[in-house]
């Protein structure tokens, strides 16, 4: 670590009843390593989070002792694997407060979930001349599937704009919602700006206009409590790997009546009840949308991740990350060249910034040199970059295991960037 030569501002007090970060850190083996001779400071959690021992051990245990295909064997291993995998479905149901496990479909991640809804619900319900409404701050995965659908059926894609702070211009929602609006797709929390959107209010307005709502929860589930019944959203999607779980597994929540009426997506094993060459009877929910052998180990690992997160408590996690965000935001004021992009009133632990005329890519390389991992680029949100007229930004994103000392290390590293470029 570089010595801290400048005075530190410690105005923000740590949250009371804060989580025990030191203990949490011991649960994440990957954090205890050096990168380029410096202790790793991992601040790229919006891209993917690290995995606690509980998750790593769940994967290991499954492959060592329980590996078998699920839902089809009578033998002991298959039964064990099936029980463990299905237990995660119940864990997810409880985690997001869905009514029934029929409403929880396993997918590869948020991206696959959105494509599934666009190609099944969308193809069945969106017609030529209809409209899909998304927001200006969406991740490409909540833009492109709707563009593809619009092209296929001749519908129109409309966009809720944002203000300079990175907040949705909700006053425009009333005029953007028309009787032709079939679906509103909106992110719960922006990966590029950190904005937390008032999704409950958007859902209410969309429902009043007769539209269904898909909420992209990829950046939300690890940082704030989610209750799909209280939100009354029609679809909610998330990825396991941003929730301390494995890559390649995630969930689609859909209201049972909607999922029931939707045609299946992929055809194959598991999603059928009965097959002849003349006719196939599709399986019940949620199997209808789960063709083929899934990522069984991943599903089991995701269950362990959710158990771990709930053990720590989302309230404590949110308070801790909020403390880090306030502290970091405040410290950035020490560096005049640093401009934060995304200054919404409601934010999660994400800090996108510019550093004078220094390109984010150069920032990323020099930070990496000091062991500090951040993300640089367009964050799969090119329209957001266009909105702020920047080719890219540098982004810091926090997780439960980050500390104020790591924010200090980050700030020192940023000073180094300026020094190198002077």
């Amino acid at each position: 670590m570089n010595p801290v030569s400048e005075p530190r501002l410690h105005v923000v007090k740590p949250a009371v009843g804060a989580l025990d970060v030191a203990r949490v850190r011991t649960e994440f083996p990957i954090l205890h390593q050096q990168v380029r001779g410096k202790p790793l400071v991992y601040l790229d959690n919006a891209a993917t989070t690290q995995k606690p021992r509980a998750v790593i051990e769940a994967l290991d245990h499954y492959y060592r002792f329980d590996n078998a295909n699920i839902h089809r064997g009578v033998h002991t291993l298959s039964v064990r694997a099936t029980v463990a995998y299905e237990r995660t479905r119940e864990t997810i149901r409880d985690f997001i407060n869905a009514r029934s496990t029929k409403e929880v479909v396993f997918v590869r991640g948020a991206t696959e979930a959105i494509n599934l809804v666009a190609q099944t619900w969308g193809r069945a319900n969106v017609k030529a001349g209809d409209e899909i409404l998304i927001s200006e701050m969406e991740h490409h995965s909540n833009i492109v599937p709707w563009q593809m659908l619009c092209e296929q059926v001749g519908a129109k894609l409309k966009v809720i704009p944002i203000n300079d702070a990175g907040e949705l211009l909700l006053e425009q929602l009333d005029s953007l919602l028309t009787e032709r609006t079939k679906l509103v797709g909106v992110t719960h929390c922006s990966n590029a700006l950190g904005t937390v959107n008032p999704v409950r209010k958007i859902i209410e307005k969309a429902h009043a206009a007769g539209a269904v709502v898909l909420v992209d929860g990829a950046q939300a589930v690890a940082h704030l409590p989610v209750d799909v019944q209280a939100l009354d959203c029609d679809f909610y999607v998330f990825s396991g790997h941003k929730l301390y779980g494995p890559t390649g597994v995630g969930a689609l929540y859909g209201k049972e009546a909607l999922l029931d009426a939707m045609p299946p997506w992929h055809g194959g094993g598991e999603m059928i009840k009965y097959v002849t060459f003349e006719k196939t009877i599709y399986n019940d929910l949620p199997a209808k949308f789960e063709a083929g052998t899934p990522h069984i180990a991943g599903g089991i690992g995701l269950g362990a991740a959710i158990d771990y997160v709930r053990g720590i408590g989302l309230g404590a996690i949110a308070a801790h990350e909020h403390d880090l965000l306030s502290y970091a935001t405040q410290r950035t004021a020490e560096i005049p060249e640093m401009r934060i992009i995304g200054t919404a009133r409601e934010k999660s632990g994400i800090l996108s910034f510019e550093l004078g005329r220094i390109h984010p890519h150069d920032i990323g390389t020099i930070l990496d040199h000091q062991g500090v991992a951040i993300r640089t680029g367009h964050h799969c949100a090119m329209p957001v970059m266009q909105r702020y007229c920047v080719p890219a930004t540098a982004r810091v994103s926090f997780a439960m295991y980050n500390t104020r000392e790591e924010v200090d290390a980050f700030m020192n590293a940023v000073r180094k960037v300026i020094e190198v470029f002077r």
């Binding site: 220094i358 984010p360 390389t365 680029g377 367009h378 970059m385 080719p391 190198v420 470029f421």
Partner: protein
């Protein structure tokens, strides 16, 4: 920080601050746009190539990181007076240098050798080669956009 200085040599900062041949070229008879979707970097290369296939003038415009801007700037200085074939040979050598493939130490590359530090940063190779890929497209007289992906 020594290793960092291998990447960010003074010459690179100099070209990043004051890129050479950084303008449009009214007399150009070749041009191509380059794009690196990973970081949003964009540049346009302009060339005037005579009937003998010699690059008489070459310039660029655009927006990118220090590595891609300096690489483009040094490239324009290097390519002037070269034939398309010579340009291709230089690019091959440059590519080996920045990827660390074939052990080139860049001695035959002149000024371009300052970008040799890129070989320790695989994620930055595309920054260093964007301008060169774009030149290749311009030499093939493809007016379409090339990307590094």
């Amino acid at each position: 920080m020594d290793e960092l200085r291998d990447l960010y040599q003074e010459v690179i900062f100099d070209h990043n601050r004051q890129p050479r041949n950084f303008h449009k070229l009214p007399a150009a008879n070749r041009r191509a746009d380059g794009f690196n979707p990973l970081c949003g970097d964009q540049l346009t290369v302009y060339m005037k190539v005579n009937d003998a296939g010699v690059i008489e003038e070459v310039s660029f415009e655009g927006r990118g990181c220090a590595i891609s801007t300096a690489s483009a700037s040094i490239m324009t200085e290097t390519l002037r007076g070269k034939t398309g074939q010579e340009a291709q040979r230089l690019f091959d050598g440059f590519h080996r240098l920045v990827t660390g493939d074939g052990g080139s130490n860049g001695s035959e590359l002149g000024k371009l050798a300052v970008l040799g530090g890129v070989r320790d940063y695989p994620s930055r190779v595309k920054c260093a080669t964007l301008a060169w890929h774009t030149v290749q497209a311009a030499l093939r007289n493809e007016s379409s956009r090339v990307t590094t992906e």
